[in-house]
């Protein structure tokens, strides 16, 4: 449904996203996880036709997001990071206006506005001024706006940011519900959010996709294993990998261009033992280097949830 190839965006000379490639299949809820400044909003703004990419391409439902922007925009519902609302309008008229912009008319439109407000639990506040709503309610009105024209793809930029734990749960429940029949791309910097909602997670950092996994695998990788490269002289990489695999607590070791890639068991550091093994074999240890992007480093910047309930309010600090 969403197909992204080599997407790149420069702001002036600054490369905000760097040849991103990923896809989301129909009916999938895909999480876009990364710390602030990773490039999540930038990517979403390109997908929604808000701004053109500097390079690469993306298609939604087969339409190029730049060449065929209007066709794409008909098919997506978008909730931007700071929910854009006309504060001086009533909830109903706001959603009705958005339905109108999507070409809906007449009775069908009015019924649909009622229906979608009911769905997000805001029908009883339909006549309230948006100005008077709480943050959680505004978020739900934003979702109503994104859903009103029955889009097949939903793009939600940090939909639970700044909400209290109860509101977070409500909005999350809502997303799960509406995600049953459509493709959802959801960005967040809260790890537990994606693990609870998404079938697949793309981890993005500094404009690069650094991991793509299902939630369980990602959690395993997060549980404290170390990953590094090791290179040694006077030995073939395959033989080195073989030897390293024999070291206790090494989960995986295989030869690559840059040396042997080693992954340790959770919460262990096997580097001393690997070094010792090389020395014992009388090979020359040339290099022992952490893998370019340590997952832990990235996740240290992500907020986590404790006890599955409390959202740490580090969001503001980040």
């Amino acid at each position: 449904m969403i197909q992204v190839e080599g997407l790149t965006k420069y702001y002036g000379n600054y490369k905000a996203i760097d040849s991103l490639s990923f896809h989301a299949d129909a009916g999938e809820i895909v999480g876009f996880l990364g710390p602030n400044g990773a490039g999540k909003t930038t990517t979403m703004r390109i997908l929604t036709g808000y701004m053109p990419p500097s390079d690469g391409r993306a298609t939604i439902a087969g339409y190029d997001v730049y060449e065929n922007s209007l066709e794409v925009r008909k098919r997506i519902g978008y909730l931007p990071e700071t929910v854009p609302l006309y504060k001086e309008m009533s909830v109903w008229h706001y959603v009705d206006y958005m339905a109108g912009l999507h070409g809906m008319r007449g009775n069908e439109r009015e019924d649909r506005v009622d229906e979608v407000l009911d769905k997000v639990g805001m029908l009883d506040r339909a006549n309230s001024m948006i100005d008077s709503l709480s943050k959680g309610m505004r978020q739900r009105v934003g979702l109503a706006q994104a859903l009103v024209h029955r889009p097949s793809v939903l793009i939600l930029d940090e939909p639970t940011i700044g909400l209290d734990p109860r509101q977070v749960r409500e909005v999350r429940e809502l997303i799960r519900e509406v995600g049953e029949e459509r493709t959802v791309l959801l960005s967040t910097h809260i790890l537990s959010e994606v693990s609870q909602l998404c079938s697949r997670i793309l981890v993005i950092n500094k404009g690069l996709i650094v991991a793509e996994d299902d939630p369980d695998t990602l959690s395993a990788r997060l549980s404290g294993s170390t990953r590094f490269y090791v290179r040694a002289g006077n030995v073939e990489p395959d033989a080195l990998a073989e030897a390293v695999r024999g070291v206790k607590n090494v989960v995986e070791a295989h030869a690559s261009e840059r040396g042997v890639e080693v992954t340790s068991a959770p919460d262990t550091d096997v580097r001393p033992q690997v070094a010792a093994a090389i020395v014992k074999n009388k090979w020359d240890l040339l290099e022992l280097k952490p893998m370019g992007m340590s997952m832990e480093d990235i996740f240290l910047q992500l907020t986590t949830e404790q006890d599955g309930e409390m959202v740490m309010e580090e969001e503001e600090a980040l």
Binding site: Y86, H102, Q145
Partner: protein, 256 residues
């Protein structure tokens, strides 16, 4: 839904939205009040002058010129005040992100907004149709001239408002948008004066033709004429301003 049909629907949707937003904002009432006060002032003064010549309009020929002519000039303060927030407010509040990602074209956003603010001003103008009624009641004015005077005024308002929409798309700062709108309007009043200072017939002819006085006061308002050139002047300037405003909005995507 055909393309034309869809565009009309979008224009109507944006028009309705913007038009109703105006009536809950203080600026529409401030500008409306200023418009009614100033036009009322000039009109009653002209009635006074007519009466000087004796009972009824014995002295001067009853005409709307004494009212619409100064108001055409003062429009350069009223119109930009209405338009200065039109695009920039959306950018400041982030709502433009919805407009730019909705299945609507950039020109539809600009033209829809322009039609809305023109609609608001049309309401102001309609109220002052009471003045010619007074003229009809007290004398026998030239009906055709009153019609072209109002029609030309309405076109001129549309033109300045289009320029104001452009100014609002160019800058996020309302004061700067206001001053750009006012500056361009002032230029359109003074261009012929500038032209008379230039020693080049081509340039001075162009500058003279750019002057609103040529197409409004000296033509539609005072002589009751509607020429193709005058129509082309107002329609052309409006179209250029709206086109540039659309380009500006589109450029924001690239600079975003």
């Amino acid at each position: 839904m055909s393309d034309v049909n869809r565009s009309l629907h979008t224009l109507w949707t944006i028009f309705k939205h913007e038009f109703s937003l105006y009536w809950i904002s203080p600026i529409a009432y401030l500008v409306g009040a200023a418009w009614l006060f100033l036009s009322g002032f000039f009109f009653s003064r002209s009635i006074g002058a007519f009466n000087q010549g004796g009972f009824g309009f014995g002295g001067l020929e009853p005409s709307m010129s004494y009212t619409l002519s100064p108001m055409a000039f003062l429009l350069m303060f009223l119109a930009p005040a209405l338009t200065m927030r039109l695009v920039s407010d959306e950018i400041r509040s982030g709502t433009h992100e919805l407009l730019l990602t909705a299945p609507v074209r950039d020109w539809e956003v600009i033209v829809g907004k322009w039609l809305a603010v023109w609609g608001v001003f049309s309401v102001f103008i309609l109220i002052t149709l009471l003045y010619p009624l007074v003229l009809v009641w007290r004398g026998s004015p030239n009906g055709a001239q009153i019609f072209t005077g109002y029609f030309g005024y309405w076109l001129w308002a549309g033109t300045i408002l289009a320029i104001g929409v452009l100014a609002s798309a160019v800058t996020q700062y309302q004061l700067i948008a206001f001053m750009i709108g006012e500056g361009v309007a002032l230029f359109l009043f003074l261009a012929d004066t500038a032209g008379s200072l230039v020693n080049n017939t081509l340039i001075s002819t162009v500058l003279t033709q750019l002057t609103v006085t040529q197409h409004y006061q000296n033509s539609m308002l005072d002589r009751g004429l509607v020429s193709a050139v005058d129509l082309a002047y107002f329609i052309g300037l409006s179209a250029i301003a709206l086109f540039l405003a659309t380009q500006t909005l589109n450029m924001r995507r690239w600079r975003a």
